[in-house]
């Protein structure tokens, strides 16, 4: 009887393995599509707020990571300056 219950448990575990893996793959594949859609959306509608981070990003990237603290304040100052410049040129 014990052996029988173990084999039925094994069957259940095998089903769980199959269902679980299929679901994990399905869910994360869906997320791939989601991320792709987000990327497309952000590409299609860069929008006004998007210009700011891109300004922020381009000078931030090539700098070495060591001067991070200093960078962020410099970047903030540049961003603020660019923003003000844009505002005054409108």
């Amino acid at each position: 009887m014990a052996a029988e219950s173990v084999s039925s448990q094994l069957m259940e575990a095998a089903t769980l393995m199959l269902v679980g893996m299929v679901f994990v793959f399905a869910f994360l594949s869906l997320l791939i599509v989601g991320v792709w859609l987000i990327a497309k959306f952000c590409e299609a509608f860069p929008g006004e707020p998007e210009t700011q981070p891109s300004v922020k990003r381009s000078p931030a990237k090539p700098m070495p990571a060591t001067a991070k603290e200093e960078n962020s304040s410099v970047v903030a100052a540049i961003t603020a300056a660019v923003h003000m410049h844009r505002q005054s040129n409108k």
Binding site: Q9, L10, E12, M21, V24, F27, L30, F41
Partner: protein, 376 residues
């Protein structure tokens, strides 16, 4: 003479049981691993000390009215502590590498096979006399393969609270052993040429994408797997706090002060589960063994999946990064980087491995949700 015997009976010496001494030795071993070997010291130190406190005779730390009893009751019985930790982890996680290369999610999914294969293995162990794992026990043990401490503790507290001590200790010990367990498996499954593959640089990811991403993950979880929303929800909340940039104070608290406070109590509470009657069983040996198997299988399937993707993409993916799919952030990614550098000293895989690494966190949270929905 009467007074003397009363005094003797109020000392611990008169009441020590052999099991308690053994468990105190286990506690000291954990302290040794944490302090000398630096194995996940942030967790193993409080866990080891909790084990010492729990096994003191007459002190009653884990009985009603005892400190550890309440800490466990409030924090782990309710599932609050692991979820708060998960929020902090979310606030520390950068999804940039994953958003830049979303295909890496497949590696995070493949590595979860370690969990489900171990579930099968735990049930198969029932054929050995002395083991009697129910499906719930087996699920809680299997989640060790997710290589994610808070997820393992959360699921164990829901499905098999009796095994929680052993499961948590196994999960954190193996996470510390990632640099030893993974490289041989990675090397066995890849050729030197494959290990030398350099990957193209990732595109920059805009702040907007990083803000929308946690919300998208949450919406998908709400729609398809509500049982995973406690874990995924707190994780996404933490991540949104980090990425939105308007609540820097909250984000800093979540990833520093709060997570530190909770870690102290979580460790002590897990240690309180290391009592002789709960830990000194043949099942603990089974759990330790199964945990190692789970890690190994997860690493192997991650690497195999990465190999398949490498072939399909015409050699644009280094198969080593598949090993990072078993979460264990950021240790697994560092291991990938190290093994990659051994094959090719100019090949820095760290950023590429972070993608599957954070995908593995999501993957194990999803797997935990599935187990909760189907078994819990």
């Amino acid at each position: 003479m009467d007074k003397l015997s009363i005094l003797w009976n109020s000392t611990a010496l008169a009441h020590f049981e052999s099991g308690q001494l053994v468990m105190m030795a286990v506690g000291c071993l954990l302290l040794y691993l944490a302090i000398v070997k630096k194995f996940e010291p942030l967790l193993l130190l409080p866990i080891g000390f909790g084990a010492l406190l729990t096994n003191i005779p007459l002190a009653g730390f884990t009985e009603v009215g005892g400190l550890l009893y309440y800490i466990y009751k409030i924090g782990i019985d309710t599932g609050v502590f692991p979820l708060l930790i998960f929020m902090g982890v979310g606030a520390m996680t950068d999804f940039g590498a994953l958003i830049a290369n979303p295909k890496m999610l497949l590696l995070g999914a493949a590595a979860q096979f370690g969990i489900f294969a171990t579930l099968f293995g735990a049930i198969a162990l029932n054929m050995v006399p002395g083991f009697e794992f129910t499906l719930k026990d087996a699920s809680a043990i299997a989640i060790i393969g997710g290589a994610d401490g808070p997820t393992a503790i959360f699921l164990a507290s829901r499905l098999a609270p009796d095994l929680l001590g052993a499961i948590a200790v196994a999960a954190y010990s193996y996470m510390a052993l990632v640099p030893i367990i993974q490289p041989p498996i990675m090397k066995a499954l890849t050729t030197p040429e494959e290990r030398k593959i350099q990957m193209a640089q990732l595109r920059p990811v805009s702040r907007r994408e990083k803000i929308i991403f946690p919300l998208a993950v949450l919406i998908l979880t709400i729609l398809f797997l509500p049982s995973a929303t406690p874990l995924v929800g707190m994780f996404c909340f933490g991540n949104l706090m980090k990425e939105c940039g308007v609540v820097e104070r909250l984000s800093k608290t979540a990833q520093n002060e709060l997570i530190n406070v909770v870690t102290i109590f979580l460790g002590l509470a897990v240690g309180s589960k290391l009592s002789a009657e709960a830990f000194l069983t043949v099942e603990t040996l089974g759990i330790l063994g199964l945990g190692a198997v789970a890690f190994g299988i997860g690493t192997a399937t991650g690497v195999i999946m990465a190999k398949v993707m490498s072939r399909l993409s015409g050699g644009a993916i280094n198969p080593l990064i598949g090993a990072a799919g078993v979460s264990a952030v950021p240790m697994a990614a560092r291991v990938v980087n190290k093994v990659g550098l051994e094959a090719n000293p100019h090949n820095f895989l760290l950023m590429h491995a972070m993608g599957p690494n954070v995908a593995g966190v999501l993957g194990s949270a999803v797997a935990a949700g599935i187990l909760l929905a189907l078994v819990g």
